[in-house]
């Protein structure tokens, strides 16, 4: 299981961005997670809280948007989801394709920040 080190990477990346916004607190980290990223959502959620402890991200929430694997289908000429990651064929015409165009994402999409003082009194 490597989700804890991935979670620590998320915390580091988010903290680095947050440094440009002094006096602001990170409420939510929006993450894009592809189903071929090799990272398990549940394990990552579990690890996130641990990774946040004693960092500026403590108390923040991780929101994950999952992305289905998609290939470029030469036959259909479009990017199309696969039937499943155990069956990497175009879900329209059923032809196999090795050209993965989506599904490997492991990316911090955005942060939601709030005023530190407002958060403290609310």
């Amino acid at each position: 299981m490597h989700e804890l080190s991935i979670a620590m990477g998320i915390v580091d990346g988010a903290a680095e961005t947050a440094r440009d916004y002094p006096g602001q607190r990170v409420e939510i980290v929006h993450l894009i997670l592809g189903e071929l990223s090799g990272v398990v959502k549940e394990a990552l959620m579990f690890s996130y809280e641990l990774a946040c402890a004693h960092t500026p991200l403590e108390g923040s929430r991780l929101q994950i948007e999952e992305v289905k694997a998609a290939i470029h289908c030469d036959e259909c000429g479009v990017d199309e989801e696969v039937r499943s990651i155990q069956d990497m064929r175009c879900s329209i015409c059923s032809r196999p394709s090795p050209n993965v165009v989506r599904g490997r994402e492991l990316m911090i999409e955005s942060l939601e920040l709030s005023d530190e003082y407002a958060a403290a009194v609310s």
Binding site: I85, M107, S110
Partner: protein, 224 residues
């Protein structure tokens, strides 16, 4: 006050990716072909690598980095092939990262090498997320592991460039269904090259070396 939304669009493994890209550039500049091996524990990576190093050695300057949680046993084994070998012990970490490759290569002059192998920690899950700067990722499974292994670990098979099925000398005893295994690999990674070998008997190793030579030539031509 409304929360402020700040766009980040940053890859979580950015540090690893940047370092891996730098390694790949250095390997290409020095004309070193780098291949990594991934499999479950016990598939036979080390045996396969030992035979591969021995077969390549007369014609090419080869070296190997080998990752394990603990012990230098694999490095000691691989040294028998007479090539430079370094062990990377990861402690509790279940995969290799680009930084470990960079550190382990300290004092090696890349200009003295033609081919470098990186044997990852035995694990079919975690290594899939980490680029090591390799030109070729070799995923391996043995005939005793079950024909549907690729369906259980689709990500690592999908990110590989070639699949090697090992321990073919045990195929009959394990009632291994080669066609089913090939279909499983093809389902998760359409079009991938699949090579069956037995490092013990030498079966298929000539075809493997031929494949490897074709890849190093393609890579050198692309770099030129």
């Amino acid at each position: 006050m409304q929360p402020r939304l700040v766009e980040v669009r940053r890859n979580v493994l950015k540090h690893n990716d940047v370092l891996a890209a730098d390694l790949r550039r250095r390997f290409a500049e020095a004309n070193v072909f780098v291949a990594s091996l991934v499999s479950s524990p016990g598939t036979g990576k080390t045996e396969f690598l030992e035979k591969t190093l021995t077969l390549l050695r007369p014609a090419a300057r080869v070296a190997a980095l080998v990752g394990d949680l603990a012990t230098a046993n694999d490095a000691i084994r691989l040294e028998r092939s007479g090539v430079p070998v370094r062990q990377i012990t990861t402690g509790t970490i279940c995969h290799l990262e680009a930084q470990m490759i960079d550190t382990a290569m300290a004092n090696w002059d890349l200009n003295d090498l033609d081919v470098l192998f990186i044997e990852n920690v035995g694990n079919l899950v975690c290594p899939s997320s980490y680029d090591l700067g390799e030109a070729l990722r070799i995923v391996m499974m043995s005939v005793t592991e079950g024909e549907d292994k690729p369906l259980k670990y689709p990500t690592i098979f999908n990110t590989a460039d070639v699949a090697v099925i090992t321990k073919m000398d045990l195929a009959a005893a394990a009632e291994f269904d080669l066609e089913m295994a090939r279909a499983s690999i093809e389902a998760v990674r359409p079009g991938i090259d699949i090579i069956e070998v037995s490092a013990k008997t030498g079966f298929g190793m000539d075809r493997w070396i031929e494949y490897l030579n074709s890849q190093t030539k393609t890579s050198a031509a692309a770099a030129a």
